[in-house]
């Protein structure tokens, strides 16, 4: 996230052409920074709300012509209704943009101040969007493409989202229109972490064999085509977790065979031997759970669609642990009694983290 100083500078840039001459000095960068500081640090305005709050304050106090001001801001924004900005390029905090994207998923708002929240996606990637109730936005629907005119990019801890505000305009596009987004999220994402869950309908599955239907057949039925025998396939739906975030991943047959070293024929044989499909997903769980991998692929809705996977090399310890352990201990400046104690009960009950190395009390 930007610093208060940077916020003050970008606000100053926006304001300068509109400030009446007699108060130009009153709102120089230093003054604006002081204002930001008081909003954020004294009046506890959330950091994400500070820019708008301070801007609103100055617009009012300085008597700026707001129509002219907003018109100018929009002229400076990237993307137009004819040529919207790709989502992948929405990477400037507080920037006003016009984008075109399909609503991939709507989530349940966790707070009444939020009207709608979810994921939107175009060919280049996906972004979270938030429509605040106070700006009285129109309802948008899943699977529909919209042009979002005059929305604001927000950055929070390195990830971007867009905010629909009261000045935003939302234009719906018909499913068969030229504007409708068809391919979503071809931009790839990389996630490293430990497999912490292998979800249901992983392993050996059957897919409906009706043409153009790939739905999973459960209990001998396709939800669209009714009773169906189906064709065998392999897949894994899993959660990979790096200790800070959890990401759901989907492995189609190719990458499933690669990571488990079990191919479809072998899986079918396993199931036939035991007359039980779940033997395959159980085996996959044993193979993957608790192991560290890096996966890469496009994001689709909640899922990362894996097209490349590898066990994270430095954690595979093919050369043994010595080097990694020495490095880890050095990183934490540890050379204490934990390394020599014969029993865990001999360890001192505290450790001076700052001093490092000394240990004991």
């Amino acid at each position: 996230m930007s610093t208060l100083r940077e916020d003050a500078q970008s606000l100053h840039e926006q304001l300068v052409p509109h400030l009446p001459d007699d108060c130009a000095d009153e709102y120089d960068v230093d003054a604006l920074e002081t204002l930001f500081d008081s909003y954020v640090n004294t009046y506890r305005v959330p950091r994400t709300q500070a820019f708008e709050s301070v801007r609103g304050h100055v617009l009012k106090e300085a008597g700026i012509d707001t129509d002219a001001f907003w018109a100018a801001q929009r002229d400076g924004e990237r993307g137009t209704t004819d040529d919207p900005l790709p989502l992948a390029e929405c990477t400037t905090d507080n920037e006003w943009v016009t984008i075109r994207a399909k609503v991939v998923e709507l989530w349940e708002p966790q707070h009444e101040s939020i009207h709608q929240v979810g994921l939107i996606s175009d060919e280049s990637g996906r972004l979270k969007f938030t429509a605040w109730a106070k700006s009285d936005p129109p309802d948008i629907e899943e699977d529909t493409t919209y042009t979002f005119k005059d929305v604001v990019v927000e950055e929070y801890e390195g990830s971007y989202s867009v905010k629909i505000n009261s000045r935003s305009e939302i234009i719906e596009h018909a499913h068969d229109s030229e504007e409708a987004v068809t391919d979503v999220g071809t931009m790839t994402t990389t996630q490293e972490g430990f497999f912490v869950a292998i979800q249901g309908q992983s392993g050996l599955i059957k897919r409906c064999s009706a043409s153009d239907c790939t739905r999973v057949v459960t209990g001998g039925e396709c939800s669209e085509h009714g009773a169906a025998d189906g064709e065998f396939d392999l897949r894994i739906k899993a959660v990979i977790d790096d200790g800070r975030t959890a990401q759901e991943c989907l492995f189609t047959r190719g990458v499933t065979e690669e990571i488990t070293e079990i191919d479809l024929e072998e899986a079918k044989k396993m199931a036939a031997d035991t007359l039980d499909f779940t033997v395959v997903s159980d085996r996959f769980t044993d193979l993957l759970i608790g192991r560290r991998f890096t996966v890469e692929g496009p994001l689709l809705g909640r899922y990362l669609l894996v097209d490349e996977v590898g066990e994270t090399p430095e954690r595979a310890f093919s050369e043994g642990y010595q080097e990694a352990v020495v490095e880890l201990l050095a990183e934490h400046n540890y050379d204490g009694p934990g390394l020599t104690a014969a029993s865990i009960e001999d360890l001192p009950r505290s450790y001076d983290v700052q001093a490092g190395g000394v240990g004991g009390d």
Binding site: E105, D242, E248, T285, I344, G359
Partner: protein, 248 residues
């Protein structure tokens, strides 16, 4: 090829997720914390961050972070059915380099139960699960785990886990005070120490890892048994009885 994959992915979201869809669909899954048995067993204080009945329950880890879910690993030394005649309830004893922890699985942990039943101790087990605290008859609070996903793993996976758990423990000791100051303060108040002790525990586990390095790949069962006896003797030998009053 790519299009086909996309199609399949989209399809899978349309069908199989319809079951999970009724609930909150915000993908705010709680992450799993790598924790050694020694620390888990001391993490007896739980809290919530909201009044909501469904709000997640967190353990305050003595090293100063919260944990709603953990990723632990160790050697299963005993599996016992402590349920009633018509209701299975498995108690599984798992030993890592720093101590012993207990996993309980009943009818609601169907998948895990099925797998745990097949275990022939000793075997290495990964458990992703939710910690629960419960009061014993004498008033002490014990921590146990309700498993979500379990895997019977090899020694290599077990060793990598020991390394990772040590790394994360050292990280928590070094930085939780800055990165999660509230929980760190809470833990310090509840447990009466700052958790820095677990830096020694992490180092102890790493030492154990190095000791076994050369032979780790082909440890025979006899050696494993010997090691286990040592570890059990050192570890917290709590009397793992069936939780009577599980916290939510």
């Amino acid at each position: 090829m790519y299009r086909r994959a996309v199609w399949e992915a989209t399809e899978s979201m349309a069908t199989s997720d319809s079951q999970t869809r009724q609930g909150a669909t915000v993908p705010d899954r709680e992450v799993a914390k790598h924790v050694f048995a020694a620390e888990l067993n001391e993490a007896t204080y739980t809290f919530k961050t909201s009044q909501d009945e469904r709000a997640p329950v967190y353990l305050a880890l003595p090293t100063g972070e919260r944990a709603n879910r953990v990723c632990v690993m160790g050697t299963v030394t005993d599996v016992e059915d402590v349920g009633t005649d018509d209701q299975e309830y498995l108690r599984v004893r798992v030993v890592d380099p720093t101590g012993t922890f207990w996993v309980y699985a009943g009818q609601y942990q169907h998948e895990a139960l099925k797998k745990l039943k097949k275990i022939q101790p000793p075997e290495f087990l990964t458990v992703i699960g939710k910690p629960r605290t419960y009061k014993t008859d004498d008033g002490t609070i014990n921590v146990s785990l309700v498993p979500e996903d379990v895997g019977i793993v090899d020694v290599k996976t077990r060793n990598s886990w020991v390394f990772e758990a040590a790394r994360r423990t050292l990280e928590r000791v070094g930085s939780a005070r800055e990165t999660s100051p509230k929980v760190a303060a809470l833990a310090r108040e509840q447990y009466g120490h700052d958790g820095s002790y677990f830096a020694h525990v992490a180092a102890f586990a790493l030492q154990n890892l190095l000791d076994g390095d050369d032979s780790a790949a082909n440890l025979d069962e006899e050696t494993i048994e010997e090691r286990l006896e040592e570890a059990e003797a050192k570890g917290y030998d709590v009397d793992g009885k069936k939780p009577e009053q599980e916290s939510k």
